[in-house]
């Protein structure tokens, strides 16, 4: 890509092939630096597809020992302006200009009067600044503002006498790094949107399980890190980054935090799009792009969960998926240093991309996505297991009934004693579910309690899954395990009940329907008032997502 070719010219020598130019930078495309020997030739002869980088040392333009009249200084500055204007007329590629003032060490030169060189530096800088505001591809940098705070010297007298080069090796390093950072913004599309998860991203814990009072967000410990993380995000929004939420949650739970939690730094009004639902996040992100009229490659996605991140990477490869640091306390710095957010004006190219994206999105095939999803989930090597109740896992079984709220069909709470009693009954089967996959060993994350109603029917008394492992269609696998149990025992019919609660109403909504169960309006002694009962002949159990586990 031509944008990887950079012509370099400067008023005094920059050392070609100095190690600083060869050090790799984040976006890994190799940059091709072409050093131009003559400063003005850089402007006249650099290929117009190339980026032109130029370093202007004001000390090269003015001889400190001479006396200049104002009109002489004006002539010098105008010659620079004309070179820049010439380049801008003939090339729309980036023009990056570092203006550098190597100030002297004699303080008396700076006492009470403006030093001539300083004054001319400011004068030239102002004129160039005016041009940079008119041309979005002209990047001007007052390089003194970069190095004057560093404690190492960017200038080196030895190099000056040896090679007519004003810079030390450190000076080369600083220039090369600054240049590469700027180039990153041109070579990759500037990012305009930040899509955030909620649980364990904006706060610690899972609001649907832990409740608003137990999430970690506050003045101490990890909660403080989340507060700082939110503060940095808020700052980004003030700089023009568009904030969005994509969270697998019940809207009520998430909005409660935004509305009532006193330590929230980000408010509802800071968000341009709120997608809180149980849909796959890549579908939400696609919608966000459509809603905002922006292309997918202007979106950055931050989520603590590697499964979610990898799904988005897989289905929306243009979206920039951040790899958050292993340690939450580094997140504030990590997001503050994220350099790809646009601070540069929207270009014609961006507007074209929006048009192209609108045309593409009309042809996305939802069915194809399901097949892709099956392929993808197969690739993460899911290994669920059914485990019998024993003295080592009975505590976990009880704990899950007490704590799981979201994927829990009937929310029956059982103490360890309750479970012991149930297990003794002949007509009850208690099974725990463990899960291993590429993302790790998740331990025991599911529970089923089945009760025999008569010789040919069973009832699903308890069916729950920890929210930690959502998104894997584990519920489908568990139902097929129930089917296996039925077959073994000659059971023909399965009954299930969904006792609707605030916490489970969305995620469990069409659970039975999706697996071919039908509503059963029969009278049952065990039915809870107001609930929906479903039934199914075990051989009719059907759901295509079981292919993941084949």
């Amino acid at each position: 890509m031509a944008q990887n070719k950079i012509s370099i010219s400067s008023t005094s020598y920059l050392i070609p092939n100095h190690y600083a130019w060869n050090e790799k930078f984040s976006f890994t495309n190799k940059l091709d630096f072409k050093f131009v020997n003559n400063f003005t030739q850089g402007f006249y002869n650099s290929p117009k597809e190339n980026t032109l980088f130029t370093a202007i040392f004001i000390n090269d333009l003015i001889d400190e020992n001479k006396n200049y009249k104002n009109k002489d200084l004006k002539k010098i500055n105008d010659s620079i302006i004309n070179l820049v204007k010439f380049r801008l007329r003939n090339s729309s590629s980036p023009l990056i200009l570092f203006l550098i003032n190597q100030r002297g060490e004699n303080i008396f030169d700076y006492l009470s009067t403006k030093n001539m060189i300083d004054e001319n530096f400011e004068n030239l800088y102002d004129k160039l600044l005016f041009l940079s505001k008119k041309h979005s591809n002209f990047i001007l940098l007052n390089f003194n503002s970069i190095f004057e705070n560093s404690n190492k010297n960017i200038f080196d007298k030895r190099n000056w006498y040896l090679a007519n080069c004003r810079l030390s090796s450190y000076g080369h390093e600083l220039i090369a790094t600054s240049l590469k950072k700027i180039l990153t913004k041109f070579i990759t599309t500037p990012k305009k949107v930040l899509v955030l998860d909620c649980d364990n991203t904006l706060w610690g814990g899972i609001v649907g399980e832990d409740g608003i009072n137990n999430i970690l967000l506050g003045q101490d410990g990890i909660g403080k890190a989340y507060v700082d993380f939110q503060r940095k995000i808020k700052k980004l929004s003030q700089q023009g980054v568009l904030l969005c939420i994509s969270s697998k949650n019940n809207t009520k739970d998430v909005m409660e935090v935004f509305n009532n939690h006193k330590q929230m730094q980000i408010s509802k009004n800071d968000l341009v799009s709120i997608k809180v639902n149980w849909k796959e996040k890549y579908l939400n992100i696609k919608e966000i792009a459509k809603d905002l009229n922006l292309s997918l490659d202007s979106i950055v996605f931050w989520d603590d969960n590697p499964l979610e991140r990898n799904k988005v990477k897989k289905f929306l490869p243009e979206v920039y998926v951040v790899e958050p640091d292993q340690n939450i306390i580094n997140w504030p710095t990590q997001i503050e240093n994220f350099e790809l957010f646009s601070k540069i004006k929207v270009t014609k190219e961006d507007k074209n991309k929006i048009k192209q994206y609108k045309i593409r999105s009309k042809f996305i095939d939802e069915k194809k996505i399901a097949t892709d999803e099956i392929k993808y989930l197969k690739s993460i090597k899911l290994e669920p297991k059914v485990i019998n109740l024993n003295k080592d896992n009975i505590a976990r079984a009880s704990q899950m009934t007490q704590k799981t709220n979201q994927f829990n069909l009937r929310t029956k709470r059982y103490s360890m004693n309750d479970i012991l009693k149930l297990n003794k009954k002949e007509y009850t089967e208690i099974k725990l579910i463990s899960l291993k996959d590429l993302y790790g060993d998740h331990g025991i994350i599911g529970l089923m309690i089945l009760k025999k109603i008569d010789n040919y029917s069973i009832f699903i008394d308890t069916f729950l899954i920890s929210c930690r492992v959502f998104g894997r269609y584990l519920e489908t696998w568990m139902l097929y395990e129930i089917k296996k149990i039925c077959k073994k025992k000659g059971i023909k019919k399965i009954y299930g009940e969904h006792i609707v609660t605030d916490k489970n109403k969305t995620i469990c909504k069409d659970f039975f329907k999706k697996h071919s169960f039908k509503i059963d309006n029969g009278k049952f002694s065990w039915k809870s008032p107001g609930s929906s009962v479903y039934s199914l002949r075990q051989e009719e159990l059907n759901n295509k997502m079981i292919k993941i586990y084949d």
């Binding site: 050392i15 070609p16 092939n17 100095h18 190690y19 060869n22 030895r158 040896l162 090679a163 090796s169």
Partner: protein, 75 residues
């Protein structure tokens, strides 16, 4: 240790050359691309990796690897 680090500097400065383990006899001109500019870059990299500074005289007089090794030992 010094020879190993110095050899790494040579590899970085001349990425397309095969640098033998024994670098004692190498000097400016040993490879086609080893001209004065490459030599300057080599010395600047040596300064960085060994955290030393050569004087202007040393920059112009050190032409052989053996000389550089001796100089590094003294600094």
């Amino acid at each position: 240790m010094i020879k190993k680090k110095l050899r790494e500097c040579l590899i970085k400065t001349f990425p397309k050359e095969r640098i033998k383990n024994n670098i004692d006899d190498l000097k400016v001109g040993s490879f086609k691309k080893w001209d004065s500019l490459a030599h300057l870059n080599l010395l600047l990299l040596v300064e960085k990796k060994f955290k030393i500074k050569f004087s202007i005289d040393e920059m112009t007089s050190l032409k052989k690897i053996s000389q550089i090794i001796n100089k590094i030992k003294k600094k």
